[in-house]
């Protein structure tokens, strides 16, 4: 059975403001990511990072649908996934900066975080089979494994091997596809024949497409299908049609100014700023200041220490 449920946001309709805790989480992730780009510019961050600017609402919408015993696997663009699961920005920033109090002693960095029931890793598609294994362990307990992937990930064969077994064995696996229309520098239309929907259908895996960027609307649409995953009905693919408003990594946006403007036009941040001029700016400023304090505090910490086993 393949069910398709679409939700959509009507921009002409004045949205209801999200709950304050959702807004605060959205803004925490937004300012966390903006701060990382700023720290790179000033030479205080090394290596690489991939921000989720514009996509923050996805993990925020999903957060209350998860239970403590669920296991979330994430990818290279995982800061938002982490902060929505565990609101520990100090520890995450310390990991990215290699400072005391880091989640993984600074060994993993931006793309390799394992904390409680959250694990991210940096090779595309690799986490899907791992997620099937975790889901196999969780089957029958009511818990699920969730794995975040992008549109580019669907070029990897591991995705299909994993989907096949997930469906054959009906494991509680939630595949969240963040389709932001571009894989690093390659537009999705140039790297994907057919569609995610058709690929899910080929494996007889239920599929939901989400076009809304409103967390309440997304949750309302996903509550029942996610519950079905828990109850043993098998895996589910949820594709979010989303927009990357920042660069792939840092300063490497190959899109035209028009394309970037088009993506920015979908930004929840700009929309809320316009729709809620009385309440939003204060919340926004508070989040910005909070992350600035976190960055100052973490930057001042001594380097992390790795006790090699």
């Amino acid at each position: 059975m393949v069910a398709t449920v679409s939700t959509s946001h009507d921009l002409r309709r004045s949205p209801l403001p999200p709950a304050q805790e959702d807004l605060e989480l959205l803004l925490l992730i937004r300012h966390f990511e903006l701060t990382l780009l700023r720290l790179f510019e000033t030479g205080e961050l090394s290596g690489t990072t991939h921000t989720c600017l514009g996509q923050e609402y996805i993990p925020v919408a999903l957060a209350p649908l998860f239970r403590e015993e669920d296991f979330v696997l994430s990818n290279h663009r995982g800061h938002g996934h982490f902060l929505a699961r565990y609101a520990e920005p100090h520890a995450l920033l310390a990991e990215i900066m290699g400072r005391e109090g880091a989640l993984c002693a600074g060994v993993g960095g931006s793309q390799h975080v394992y904390h409680r029931r959250f694990l991210s890793t940096g090779v595309q598609g690799e986490s899907l089979p791992v997620a099937v294994g975790v889901a196999l362990k969780l089957a029958g307990t009511g818990a699920l494994a969730c794995v975040y992937v992008g549109d580019g990930t669907w070029g990897e064969g591991a995705v299909y091997e994993a989907l096949n077994m997930a469906r054959l064995w009906r494991v509680p696996l939630l595949v969240v596809v963040e389709n932001n229309g571009i894989a690093q520098s390659t537009p999705t239309r140039e790297q994907m024949a057919g569609s995610v929907a058709a690929r899910a259908a080929a494996f007889d895996v239920p599929y939901h497409r989400v076009t809304s960027t409103e967390v309440d609307e997304i949750r309302a649409g996903l509550a029942a299908p996610v519950e079905a995953v828990r109850s043993g009905q098998g895996p589910l693919v949820v594709e979010f049609v989303t927009h990357r408003i920042g660069p792939h990594s840092k300063g490497d946006d190959s899109r035209s100014p028009e394309e970037v403007a088009l993506a920015a036009g979908q930004d929840w941040h700009a929309r809320y700023a316009a729709a809620f001029p009385d309440s939003f700016p204060a919340l926004d400023a508070r989040a910005r200041e909070r992350v600035a304090r976190i960055a100052a505090e973490v930057t001042a910490r001594p380097p992390s220490v790795w006790e090699r086993g």
Binding site: H112, G133, V134, A158, M165
Partner: protein
């Protein structure tokens, strides 16, 4: 008499009976087929969904095994032919092995990937390789090989105790041979297993002319060479056969020999033997009378036709001739 394949099968039965956390995944491993080499016979009947025949997806089943291990269970994955382990390289190297340390603390990944390896059966280039060398030197990954001397149950226990992914190579020809018991190999040779290393020796010879360091799949060819060397060339050989190939365990007693030679079935170039000699040279340098010998298969694919396959893979005569030449 117990064949090596039967011995492995019994060990898997005992392991799955004793430890409900253990899962087994692989292609065509369920009854009545019981695996391409029958090593998993009876397990699916007895242990139900803990034993899963899978689609042809070596990469994903290795990843699924790693996921089970990450979540607190234990997994054994069978790769039907060791050549196909190349399809699981990413999951082994980039996920399972790296995850044991890249999160800044030890993360247990109790995963064993069984790989039927080796040639001399005429299966041709993609079903005959001994690909151990491709997995050597990967941080977080251990290599083991079945031998006719080592208890498989103890090997599985040792591998899971590592809490990191392990490859277990099982030579396909070895499957049909018997397990040695009671310290006796044959009328000439005895054996003992100490600290994970099997030592095969001529009773009463304390200072052998030559020590052959080899792996499980080469046992019988090395033994045949040692027999001929003793009876026809008056050269006393000892064999050291570790069950763990990487990291290499302590190989005791090598200082006593006039010559040390590493004998392996992998193709020449970037070999296990090179790694063994890298470890041994600093220790043995003062005692060595000549370079450590390195014998391997040719730098070649493995042909299907038996006469061509024999030319490429290392045979007993090749070993004997090389030792005679080295000691002459």
């Amino acid at each position: 008499m117990t064949r090596v394949s039967e011995h492995l099968n019994r060990a898997l039965h005992d392991l799955m009976e004793a430890d409900p956390r253990v899962h087994l995944l692989g292609e065509d491993i369920s009854d009545p087929y019981g695996g391409a080499f029958k090593v998993t016979r009876g397990l699916s009947t007895r242990f139900g969904h803990r034993v899963r025949s899978t689609p042809l997806s070596e990469g994903a089943i290795t990843g699924i095994g790693a996921g089970l291990a990450l979540a607190g269970d234990r997994a054994i994955v069978e790769i039907m032919f060791a050549d196909f382990a190349a399809l699981a390289f990413d999951q082994l190297v980039n996920f399972a092995a790296k995850s044991t340390s890249m999160y800044g603390r030890p993360v247990p990944i109790p995963l064993v990937v069984r790989c039927p390896s080796g040639g001399n059966r005429g299966y041709g280039p993609t079903h005959s390789q001994s690909p151990q060398k491709h997995f050597i030197g990967v941080p977080g990954l251990s290599l083991f090989e079945m031998t006719p001397f080592h208890d498989a149950g103890a090997l599985f226990a040792e591998m899971f105790a590592q809490e990191r992914p392990c490859l277990l190579f099982e030579d396909k020809v070895l499957y049909t041979r018997r397990m040695y018991t009671g310290g006796v190999v044959d009328d000439l040779f005895a054996y003992e297993v100490r600290d994970g290393v099997a030592r095969v020796f001529v009773d009463g010879v304390s200072e052998p002319d030559c020590v052959l360091v080899t792996h499980g799949g080469m046992t019988h060819r090395a033994l045949e060479a040692a027999r001929a060397l003793l009876l026809e060339d008056d050269v006393a050989c000892e064999l050291l056969i570790p069950s763990r190939l990487y990291p290499l365990p302590e190989l005791a007693g090598l200082e006593r020999a006039r010559h040390v030679c590493v004998v392996e079935d992998g193709s020449a170039g970037g070999t296990w033997g090179a790694e063994v000699s890298r470890v041994l040279y600093p220790r043995l340098w003062p005692a060595l009378r000549r370079p450590i010998g390195l014998l391997s298969a040719a730098d070649s694919v493995i042909p299907a036709a038996p006469h061509l396959e024999r030319e490429v893979l290392l045979q007993a005569d090749d070993i004997r001739n090389a030792i005679v030449e080295a000691l002459s």
